[in-house]
Amino acid sequence: MSTPPVIQVTNLVKTYKMGEVEVHALNGVSFEIFKGEIVAIIGPSGSGKSTLMNILGCLDLPTSGNYFLDGEKVSGLSDARLASIRNRKVGFIFQSFNLLSRSTALDNVSLPLRYAGIARPHARAKAALESVGLGERIGHKPSELSGGQQQRVAIARALVNQPSILLADEPTGNLDSRSGKEIMELILSLNKERGVTVIIVTHDPNIAAQTQRTLRVKDGLLEEVTG
């Protein structure tokens, strides 16, 4: 490949101390993800899948090993720098949406822009909501929206800062099958039409099957790479 990878992970190790016992959540994981790819990370619970996702999302730092995101070395950065990278380079989509219940859809989507220091974020936030098909509902609060609509708001929020990667953790886990299907279609189309790099963490093989590539985590190791 001529272009450098968006994500480059080499020999990633994460160890937790639970009292006296050391738990090896990740035991030396290496892989690369390129721009425009859509990749699934699957694995049973306790496999280290969540730990890997947290590190990829810059929410947590590895014990050892290197992680380059968009050419920037993430391992060993300060809290403030990590916050800035999360803000600019990572878009999160959570299983439980994680919207602020007191705020409108528009304000929820504006939040990352505000943390980026943008004074008047509403125009961009509105555009992001329109791009996920919610242009009519920008003034609604999460409680006034269906599950599928709430997840669309979350996707708009994840995209609004034009991040390098979109990190989705079980994005359809809390949705009925029809809404889940719609959300998957939206994510796939974002990848196909706008070239967004997407990483989906899931345990659902049906969802993994819709991606180009699947990374399987087991016992802290990347067991198998299917492409």
Binding site: A80, A83, F94
Partner: protein, 407 residues
């Protein structure tokens, strides 16, 4: 994130739980109101005591017979007082008023009333700033003639002559002897030194002769001296003391009389009220402290409740400082609102205290100073910040992974 947006978010978050915010604010309201009201009432009391003492004249001093470690002091006499009126020996003295006083039973018809009887000279009215509402005050003539006349204070009138208007010219009995009422004093209201209306004034000589007999007969209880001005009080004390030393032939350094200076009483009273004010303010300060702890408590609850939100905000790019400021603003807003309401409540309390005091004849005008308002506002905001720091920094230091995992 800019500051305006931060404040808006703080307000939205506080209004989303109105009851809780309201109760927390109440704690601060009580604290701030108590502090300001106590200081205001204290200052009002101080002013009122100052004014009362000023109205009695800060250029006054009193001479009493006797002193510590002096045996057989010579009594003060009417002649001593007259000697002090000598302008050559005592140029700084404006007025000298000897008095004798005692409690006696006053009787009119079948009513009797026990009151303070003061035998004195006409100058007494000036010295105590008394004015006559009806009739006239005792004159030099009545003193010289040892006339059986009396001037009544308002309390005496109210008790002896309930519902009667024509009092001047009536005859009352004092100590069993008939006295003609020649005047009624205008009410002066109460003071910290007791009611100034509860007294009967008779000519000094009459009192010495018939009501309050002293040994020797020309003896007086006290001599009140008024200096020409406030500045000459010290000089006047020196002059009158010298006259007494000469007349009493006392040895140097062994005065057989005591001088009580009004301005000394004034400063003693001031220091008592200021101690009182500090004491009240201190107690009120404790309630402000308790209010602050209330804020801290509620902020901990808020942080715990919103752990997941904090995690989310961090995932979206909030730095520690952003979270810290967010929660500090919430607690500062709570306490600032509490402080502002507290000022209004304090104003209400002060007005009420003023009314109650006025209704009880002790005029206190509580005074809310700008400094007290400023202090309370800043102090309440500072309390919000201070007690907000610990919960807020706990929020700011949450690990995003842990925070997002919480339910």
């Amino acid at each position: 994130m800019n500051f305006g947006q931060q404040i808006m978010e703080a307000l939205v978050s506080l209004t989303s739980n109105k009851l809780r915010s309201g109760l927390t604010i109440l704690g601060i309201v009580i604290g701030v109101a108590a502090v300001i009201a106590m200081l205001a009432v204290g200052r009002g009391a101080q002013n009122s005591i100052d004014a009362q003492i000023q109205s009695m004249g800060s250029n006054l001093f009193f001479l009493n017979s006797g002193a510590r470690n002096v045996r057989n002091p010579k009594p003060l006499t009417l002649q001593d007082a007259e000697a002090m009126m000598n302008p050559d020996l005592a140029p700084s003295v404006l007025n000298v008023v000897p008095t004798i006083q005692g409690r006696l039973e006053a009787v009119y018809a079948s009513t009797s009333y026990s009151t303070q009887v003061i035998g004195t000279t006409p100058g007494y009215a000036d010295l105590r700033t008394l004015s006559v509402a009806d009739g006239e005050f005792i004159s030099d003539g009545t003193v010289t003639n040892k006339s059986a006349v009396a001037v009544l204070g308002k309390d005496v009138v109210d008790n002896l002559f309930p519902g009667t208007s024509d009092i001047v010219g009536q005859t009352i009995r004092l100590g069993g002897q008939p006295f003609k009422v020649i005047g009624v004093l205008a009410s002066k209201g109460g003071s910290s030194f007791g009611s100034q209306d509860d007294m009967i004034i008779v000519p000094l000589t009459t009192a010495q002769l018939r009501l309050l007999r002293r040994n020797p007969a020309n003896r007086v209880d006290q001599i009140m001296v008024q200096a020409v001005s406030k500045e000459t009080v010290t000089k006047a004390i020196e002059e009158t003391s010298q006259i007494l030393r000469d007349r009493h032939k006392t040895r140097v350094g062994q005065d057989d009389f005591t001088v009580m200076n009004m301005s000394e009483i004034l400063s003693a009273a001031s220091s008592i009220t200021s101690i009182f004010t500090i004491f009240l303010g201190g107690i009120a300060g404790i309630s402000l402290l308790v209010g602050g702890i209330g804020i801290m408590n509620i902020m901990f609850v808020t942080v715990t409740e919103r752990t997941r939100e904090i995690g989310l905000r961090k995932a979206l790019g909030a730095r520690k400082i952003d979270i810290l400021i967010q929660f500090l603003l919430e607690s500062a807003t709570l306490s600032l609102i509490g402080g502002l309401i507290g000022i209004v409540v304090a104003w209400g309390i002060s007005t009420l205290v003023g009314r109650i005091a006025a209704a009880n004849n002790t005029p206190i005008t509580p005074e809310i100073g700008i400094d007290a308002i400023l202090m309370a506002t800043l102090f309440s905001a500072a309390i919000g910040l201070f007690f907000g720091i610990y919960p807020s920094s706990r929020a700011a230091n949450l690990e995003p992974v842990e925070a997002l995992r919480s339910e």
